[in-house]
Each structure stands twice: as C-alpha cells, then as structure tokens.
C-alpha cells in the first residue's frame, strides 16, 4: 500500500500493466519526454523506451487512428488525448472506426484501445480546457465509458480498461488529479467495469453522480445530514455499460433521485439516467427525478464557479426533492 493521488494512481496503473504485458504501449502528445502535460505518464519513457511510449505529432485523429491500427495488430494501446476538449478531431476515428470494428467485421477484428483523457472543469480552463462531453461517447454503441473519482478506483478501473477486449473511453476528473489521495495497493488489481459503488449510504434520497462531482455530492450529503436528510451517494464509476441495478435498487429504497453532473443539462448523460429511473422505478418515486448539471452554455472562464454545480446548488436540489 502506498498513499497516492488520483494522478499517481493513473500512472501506476499504466506502469503496472506495461510491466505485466509487453503489448501495452502509450501514445499521445507530450507523453514521453514531458511525461504528459498533467504528468500522468511521468517516468514511463525512461522505464519502457521510445517504442512503447510514443510522443506523437499534434494530431488527435492520427493518434486514435494509429492506436486503432496498433490494436488491430494485437497491441494494447493507451492513447492520451491531452484534454477532452481536443478529442473532437478524433471523433470520427472513435465513433466511426474504433467503436464499430468488432460489429462491422462480425467479430473477426477487434480494437481494444483505451483512450485516456482528462475531463471536467475546476482548473479555470474556460471553454476549451473544461468540457465534459461524455454523452457523445456513452451514446455510441461499442464504446465503454469509465469515469473514476478516487485513486483506488482510478488504478483498478484503468487496469480493467487496459485488459478489456473492447475500446474504453477513460475519463479522468482533472480537478481531482492532485486533490484526493488515499492508500492504494501496489501491483495489479482490478475494479470491474460496469459496477457502481455506494459512496455513502442513506435512505431519503439517491444522489447519483460520477467523476469529480462525486466529491461535491459527498460534501453536500454531509451538509444535508446536518439538516436531518439522509442522502445515498452513488458513484457510477462506469457510464457505459451502466450499473442499472444499483441505481434502481437505491431509488426503490429512497423513493427519490437527483442526478448530479457537470455537463450541460440538455441531452446529457444525466437525462439517460433520469429516463431509466422513470422507466424502471416510477412506482417507487415520491418526487420528480431532478438533474443538477452544468449550464446549457459553453463553460465560461470567469464564471466557472456558476457553471459547475457546487455544494450549495446540489443541496438546493436535494431539498427540492425531499420537500416535494
């Protein structure tokens, strides 16, 4: 066991799997000499050499397209997209190619690539260093979408993603990179993809979240407890495939659901969760399903604090739900 930040856990997961499996390679912009702009790949170049840690040209569709070709050959590439805001040049390669190779070839070809990318706000990144565009990818058949919120889960889920036979979009909550730390086992272990976690048990309302918003939700739950409201916080950990059972059994218990994320509300992943609850647990509901989300605007630089739901905003939605 070593105390690690979420960022160090990500690095450790890659290092662990690269040691275990020579097919695992890392590629992306500045991932080698620089160790990545967030330092997620620090030390990997020295340890594994230029063939397994590839500093690539500045070209996201090339990074994903080349990673796909490497995976078709039998490697296990981990492609880093420097910020999720810059994933769009690779959108076609992800959505038309990576996600569909298994299906369109009748399972005769597969491309198990992990696309790692930091997502979300909280670092004063403005429009182009703050986005949470997970909905596009969760919407795409053939992709798995993973978003951890703790160092332990980050390492275990990244190892699972690298070992997974399907392509995984691995979303790293960048504002938690260095702000959360905990004891993390050394060596390999896995956290299963597709399993949510009850981050805090409660009985009055289910607060469902993922990524950096889980921290905010836990704080809001703590604050609500002082007012006598018992909040159950669910950390989804994986968006696709979604752990529907954990969500539904929690909502059946509490009779109330609030979904918290920082992507724009309209057409968001939170909307999918809300729809599923409506379809599968309407009889248990004592209040409308609510979403506390980012604004339906681009992320703004100076008013980032108004964009990302904070404890106070989450609390107000909890109160709306329980007082309905």
């Amino acid at each position: 066991m070593t105390v690690r930040t979420l960022l160090q856990s990500v690095t450790d997961a890659m290092k662990t799997e690269m040691e275990n499996d020579e097919r695992v390679v890392v590629l992306g912009e500045d991932v080698g000499r620089d160790g990545g702009v967030f330092r997620a790949t620090e030390g990997l170049l020295d340890r594994f050499g230029v063939e397994r840690v590839m500093d690539t040209p500045l070209n996201e569709s090339g990074i994903i397209g080349v990673a796909t070709g490497m995976a078709l050959y039998g490697l296990r590439p981990i492609a880093e997209i420097q910020f999720m805001d810059f994933i769009y040049p690779a959108f076609d390669q992800i959505v038309s190619e990576l996600s569909k190779i298994r299906y369109r070839s009748g399972g005769t070809y597969t491309a198990p690539v992990v696309v790692r990318t930091p997502f979300g706000g909280g670092i004063k990144g403005g429009l182009y260093h703050s986005q949470s565009s997970e909905a596009y990818f969760a919407h795409t058949a053939g992709l798995k979408v993973v978003a951890p919120s703790t160092p332990y889960d980050a390492k275990g889920l990244l190892i699972s993603s690298i070992r997974d036979e399907d392509p995984v979009i691995f979303l790293e909550p960048k504002r938690l990179y260095r702000t959360v730390r905990e004891e993390v086992p050394d060596g390999a272990y896995t956290v299963p993809i597709g399993k949510a976690k009850i981050a805090r048990e409660g009985k009055d309302v289910s607060l469902i979240s993922y990524g950096a918003m889980v921290r905010t939700c836990l704080e809001a739950a703590e604050a609500a407890a002082k007012n006598g409201i018992s909040v159950e916080v669910i950390d989804l950990r994986t968006l696709s495939p979604l752990d529907i059972e954990t969500i539904i059994s929690s909502v059946q218990k509490t009779g109330r659901a609030v979904i918290a994320n920082e992507a724009p509300k309209f057409g968001s992943f939170a909307a999918e969760v809300a729809a599923l609850i409506a379809e599968k647990a309407i009889d248990s509901l004592g209040a409308p399903v609510l979403r506390v989300s980012g604004l339906d605007t681009p992320v703004t630089y100076i008013w980032e604090s108004a964009y990302i739901p904070d404890v106070q905003r989450v609390l107000s939605y909890i109160n709306r739900s329980v007082s309905y």
């Binding site: 390679v25 063939e51 397994r52 590839m54 690539t56 040209p57 070209n59 569709s61 090339g62 994903i64 397209g65 080349v66 990673a67 796909t68 070709g69 490497m70 995976a71 078709l72 050959y73 039998g74 490697l75 590439p77 040049p89 076609d92 390669q93 038309s96 190619e97 569909k100 190779i101 298994r102 299906y103 369109r104 070839s105 009748g106 399972g107 005769t108 070809y109 597969t110 058949a141 053939g142 798995k144 036979e165 399907d166 597709g194 696709s240 495939p241 979604l242 529907i244």
Partner: protein, 392 residues
C-alpha cells in the same frame, strides 16, 4: 532504377490562377512522370519487366477478369433488386491485383471498396464475396455492412468502413506495431484521389513519415470522386508530389498497367522491409462504370472520355501480354472467361439461397459480451420475430 520511378517532385508550379473550371479541365496532367511497362497494345519494355512466375501471372489475370465479370453480374443482380447496392472496380482491376500480388501473403491490406481483387488474388472465393453482397449468415460481417465492404481475417485484409480515408491511419498504426514487435510484415492501404482531401490522409501520411512506418499508400487516382474531378480535390500538379511534404518518396504509375503497379509496389515493399519507411504510389486509372449502382455518370463526364479509357483497358492489356508470352491463347482465354462466369453464376445462386443471419445476431459483437440494455432489446426482438428468425 530509372529516376522517373522514385520521383521526388520538387516543382510546385502554380497551374492556374483562380478556381479551376470543372467543365474545362477534366483531369490532372495525367502523364507527368508516369511509369508504364505494358502499353495499351500489350507491348512491354523488356528491361523493366518484373520477374513474375507464370503461375502467378495466370492467377493475376484470372483475378482481374473475375473482378470484371463479378461486377457485370452483380450490377445485374442489383438492378433486379436481389442485392441492395454495388460499387464497382471495372477499369481499376490492375491496381488492387498488381499491388497485392507483389506483397507477402501475411502483409496487411487496408482496403476501401474497390478492391475485391486484393482478396481474390489471395485466394478468396467468389462465393465468399457473394456472401458479403447478400449479407447472409456465411458473411464474415454477418450482414451488417452494405455491399462491397469485403474483408477477411484469414487473408489479412482488414475490415473497411464507408467513411472515406479512415483506414489510412489504421494501416500506419499496424505498420508501426509490426515494427515495434520486430516483425517483417508491412501494410498497404488503398484509397482514391478524393480521399487525399480528407484529414485522415494527412494524419496517416504524417505519422508514417515521422515514424518511418513500413507502409505503402496506394492511391488509385481514377479521375473522380463521385462527380468531382481531381482538380477539385487539389491544386497540386500530381497527387504523388504530396509525399514530398511528408518526407517520403513517391511513384506515379500507369494504374492500368498491372506490371507497372506490381513493380512499383515491389520496390515500395522492399524499402519498407529494409526499414526505409513509407512510400506513396499514385496509380493513374479510370473508373469505367458509374461511381456506384446509384450514380448517373453522364451528368459529369462525356462518353468519349470513357471510350478513350476503354482503349487502355487493363484486362485487355494483360491478356495481350499473356498471349505474347504464350501463356494463353484465344481459345484458353475464352474458356477461362467462361469458367469464371460459371463460377460466378453458381456462387451467386448459392449465396442467395443461404439463410440470413438470425435475428439474435443483431445484438452480438457490439461488445464481447451482451450488456443488459442489449439483452432487453434482444428479448423484445425475439418476442416479436421468434427465436432464430432469419426472415420469411
């Protein structure tokens, strides 16, 4: 090696001022530095003639003739509504067959949609191609793709998609991976002139240059991307010269000359295997048929132009060459074509009577394992159609 062959075009001449009038300038200067070994009458330049075994020459000829006949018959099936669509390769057969024949059997091919010839020369059966066209239960793709998305894991021909040029970076990635694994395999990717305008062409070329990937870019410049002539894709004098910008050599070859395509590919493959990196080959060719079964080419090109190109037919040229070498004669040629036609007709029948994939298959291969939401949709479909339903 004549210096026209590995051509590094340094001339960036400004061809025109303003935008090229599509009706005026039909095509790029086709003849610039183009390698031709076999002329349109079957005469060949002995000093450049590649060393190809008689057995392989005959297989190449058969593959090319099969592509042509296969298209003729499949277009008929399409018109009768028996298959949904067809996108042909008539006139371009020398490109896919000549290049693939020059590779090793375990080199990787990343095709677009005009390369059934690449599969045939690797021994794919016509029946298997028909399974793809009909999308039946024997189709490798399990009926999921439109016609002409041919591939085979066993033949190292990778699954193509419809978006133009997306396969180009895949070929580069595969080549880098092979190099990384210290294997001698190389990759070859096919694409058209229109594809050179897509981002992925530039991504792939750039990565290949930077990492000296053992990959061959084979551009079939057939003069058009659907209705648009090559001058609407680029102001460059040639497509081959684009290689310059990415630090790799290129060759322009007569794409209707199977010997030129073969020998250029052979040189590029040797360079790749020696660790000298990628090559761009621009093969000048022409699509004799429509873009696809949904296209009316009279809207954008003149019949006289097509007639001109019919004279340069790659199959006729190869036939003349083989006759000159006394590998075939009129009689055996006629028999071969008859043979091919019989095989195609009986294969079409077989594929057409092969059952469709069962309804359950729709939900498979999205992921390795069925997810709960796919399971729900599967159950709903099975409830409606019944288990194992394969159509009426």
């Amino acid at each position: 090696m004549p210096d026209c062959q590995v051509k590094r075009c340094l001339a960036f001449k400004l061809l025109t001022v303003g935008v090229v009038d599509l009706n005026e300038t039909m095509e790029m200067k086709k003849e610039t530095g183009m390698l031709q070994i076999l002329d349109i009458d079957g005469n060949y330049r002995k000093e450049l003639e590649p060393d190809i075994s008689e057995e392989l020459l005959l297989r190449m000829y058969r593959a090319m003739a099969t592509v042509r006949k296969f298209e003729e018959i499949s277009m008929g099936l399409q018109r009768q509504g028996r298959i949904g669509f067809y996108i042909g390769a008539a006139g371009q057969e020398a490109c896919s067959v000549g290049s693939t024949a020059a590779l090793h059997r375990d080199d990787w091919i990343f095709p677009a949609y005009r390369e059934p010839g690449a599969l045939l020369i690797r021994g794919e059966t016509v029946l298997q191609l028909f399974h793809q066209l009909f999308g039946d239960s024997m189709d490798y793709n399990r009926g999921r793709q439109m016609p002409n998305h041919f591939n085979s894991r066993e033949k190292n021909v990778v699954t193509p998609s419809s978006p133009i040029a997306t396969q180009i970076p895949h070929a580069v990635g595969m080549a880098i991976a092979a190099k990384h694994m210290k294997k001698k395999q190389i990759a070859l990717t096919f694409f058209g002139d229109g594809a050179t305008s897509e981002n992925d062409f530039h991504s792939g070329m750039n990565f290949a240059g930077v990492f000296r990937a053992p990959v061959i870019f084979l551009c079939q410049n057939n003069g058009y991307a659907i209705s648009l002539p090559t001058v609407r894709q680029t102001a460059s004098e040639t497509l081959a010269q684009k290689a310059d910008a990415y630090g790799m050599p290129s060759e322009r070859v007569d794409g209707n000359d199977v010997l030129a395509v073969y020998s250029a590919t052979m040189r590029a493959a040797e360079r790749a295997r020696k660790g000298q990196g990628p090559t761009l080959i621009e093969a000048l060719t022409y699509r004799i048929g429509p873009h696809s079964s949904s296209d009316d080419p009279t809207k954008y090109r003149k019949n006289e132009e097509v007639d001109e190109w019919r004279k340069k037919d790659p199959i006729k040229r190869m036939s003349a060459y083989l006759k000159r070498k006394r590998l075939i004669d009129d009689e055996s040629d006629r028999k071969l074509i008859e043979d091919i036609e019989n095989e195609i007709r009986s294969s079409a029948k077989k594929a057409e009577s092969t059952p469709k994939p069962a309804i359950e298959s729709v939900f498979e291969n999205v992921y390795l394992e069925l997810t709960w939401n796919l399971r729900e949709e599967l159950d709903e479909a099975v409830q409606r159609y019944g288990p194992g339903y394969t159509g009426k």
